[in-house]
Symmetry: C2
Subunit: 307 residues, 2 copies
């Protein structure tokens, strides 16, 4: 099933309590594509990079079945750059530097070959850009998933409210859910947000797992308890990539299958944090993923008959 | 199966962002007994109270199959009193007042009828007092579970290290696990703590659920996402009561059954927080508990066959 992924492809510089990276390749759409390409082909990437973005990164993605026809290369400009420092709990971070560069005037182009899009994953971007992609598709996809962040709630709330009316699944973290809903209880927050448009809401809680809300139903997936969390950058995008990748692979948008997709996303995120940037995502094979998903089964499985 | 419960029976005064209680009945052993008595009889209570402790509270427990022969009543003294204020996240709190009173010189007495103890639940108390109960039992119980807190790590670490060598299951929260092990990662913390003696470690994470570690195995139980957490006081004790109550009822100390016991404990804790003090625990019936356990099944159950 055809999956279109929209988002940044960029450079990051990361400091954690355990180390410091140079300027490395990152960006929401990078992580999403690396994660989702374990499950489904073709993936059709929509992004913009500067002349400084390594061409071999695009070739590596193409080799995994990711079309980069929709990735604009602005040779005379620079790629988006973000630099940040994580605190000890790895759930909070300070932004040290943000250089929008090519992202400042990003006008997403959808090649004709992308019009067969059945699944649309809108990575974190300006809500107006996310909306323009939805509007430029001639046919409504089977499922539209949108990720966003607190920055847009502060700077473009009205655009954000407009675009989330048009999506099926909204992805936010716990503090963003609280900010968006003005409710502290995540159960109450979910009810408010589901009334804003999306049919499904996923609240990511980092090391504390993720919740899926739909009507009155709720599903919880833990994060895998890890010996070391080396670098959480991209974990949310990697989660999103596993989630939409599994759904596109199975071509099943039922609530039951979304639960499974969240477990797949959680498994993918657990790899992402093991090394800096996309390093670990580039190493893992199908057998690693299958083994990790079995760890999730072991982690939460209990025998109700013993009660 | 005979279950002996040791811990404080006391008064609390509680402030939360949602309200303030008068001086109400609390104490670890109170919550444990109310919770465990839904699953097993007889429960044999070991505690100490002052003349101010309401006699009808003891009668209510007796009516549920809890023997209070081991509860010393010091008519001329006052019961232990704790007062605290919870922050918005309900996972952190400030102690406003602590009056040890009868607890200052608590010398636990084990009536002869308690010597058939098969399951021993040591609620949070001075580690030396917990150790003396173990030493006064003529026969080693099938399972000894110990709850403790950061206060003893700061004031009586050597006593604590001695007593946890003698127990099968240790219960702490996440920050206490980090303090006890000097490791930030809970996976590493668990390894250090399991090397200190206990065969099983339960790390309680409040609204983020609970982890059970044993050797290289790990199990995770979520907390039920609740609309409102009204008062978290006693939630950990109520969890412990459900855990040991289920194990005593089933007389099965396997790792598989401990997983189920943790789900039972989590279900009981989810009731406790719905009202001030023990109010909710005194209202619920078997049907309420069964329904809530089914909610946990729904919350975590996913179909691996869909992968």
């Amino acid at each position: 099933m055809s999956l279109v992924v929209v988002g940044s492809m960029a450079f990051d510089a990361i400091e954690t309590p355990f180390g410091k990276s140079n300027k490395i390749v990152g960006g929401a759409a990078t992580y999403i594509a690396w994660s989702a390409s374990n499950f489904t082909k073709p993936i059709k990437q929509v992004s913009v990079v500067g002349g400084d973005f390594p061409k071999e990164e695009l070739l590596k993605l193409e080799a995994r079945g990711v079309s980069v026809e929709g990735v604009q290369i602005k040779e005379d400009e620079k790629s988006f750059f973000w630099s940040g420092r994580y605190h000890m709990d790895m759930n909070t971070r300070d932004t040290l530097d943000t250089q929008l560069n090519v992202l400042a005037n990003f006008d997403p182009i959808l090649p004709d070959s992308y019009q067969d899009c059945e699944y649309l994953m809108l990575g974190n971007l300006a809500p107006s850009v996310q909306a323009s992609v939805i509007n430029r598709l001639n046919t409504k996809p089977k499922l539209v998933v949108l990720d966003t962040m607190n920055f847009w709630m502060e700077s473009a709330m009205s655009d954000l409210e407009n675009v989330i009316k048009k999506v099926d699944v909204l992805l936010v973290n716990d503090s963003e859910a609280r900010q968006l809903s003005a409710e502290y209880s995540l159960v109450k927050a979910a009810r408010v947000i589901l009334n804003m448009g999306p049919k499904y809401l996923i609240i990511k809680k980092g090391e504390h797992g993720a919740l899926l809300f739909h009507g009155n139903d709720v599903f919880f997936a833990p994060a895998l308890p890890l010996e070391d969390v080396f670098d959480p950058t991209g974990a949310g995008d990697t989660f999103a990539g596993g989630f939409i990748g599994h759904i596109a692979k199975t071509n099943d948008i039922s609530f039951e299958n979304m639960k499974t997709a969240i477990i797949v996303g959680s498994a993918m995120a657990s790899f992402c944090v093991e090394k800096f940037g996309t390093t670990r995502l580039k190493e893992i094979k199908k057998a690693d993923i299958d083994e990790r998903i079995q760890q999730f089964v072991q982690l939460v499985n209990f025998d109700i008959k013993l009660i």
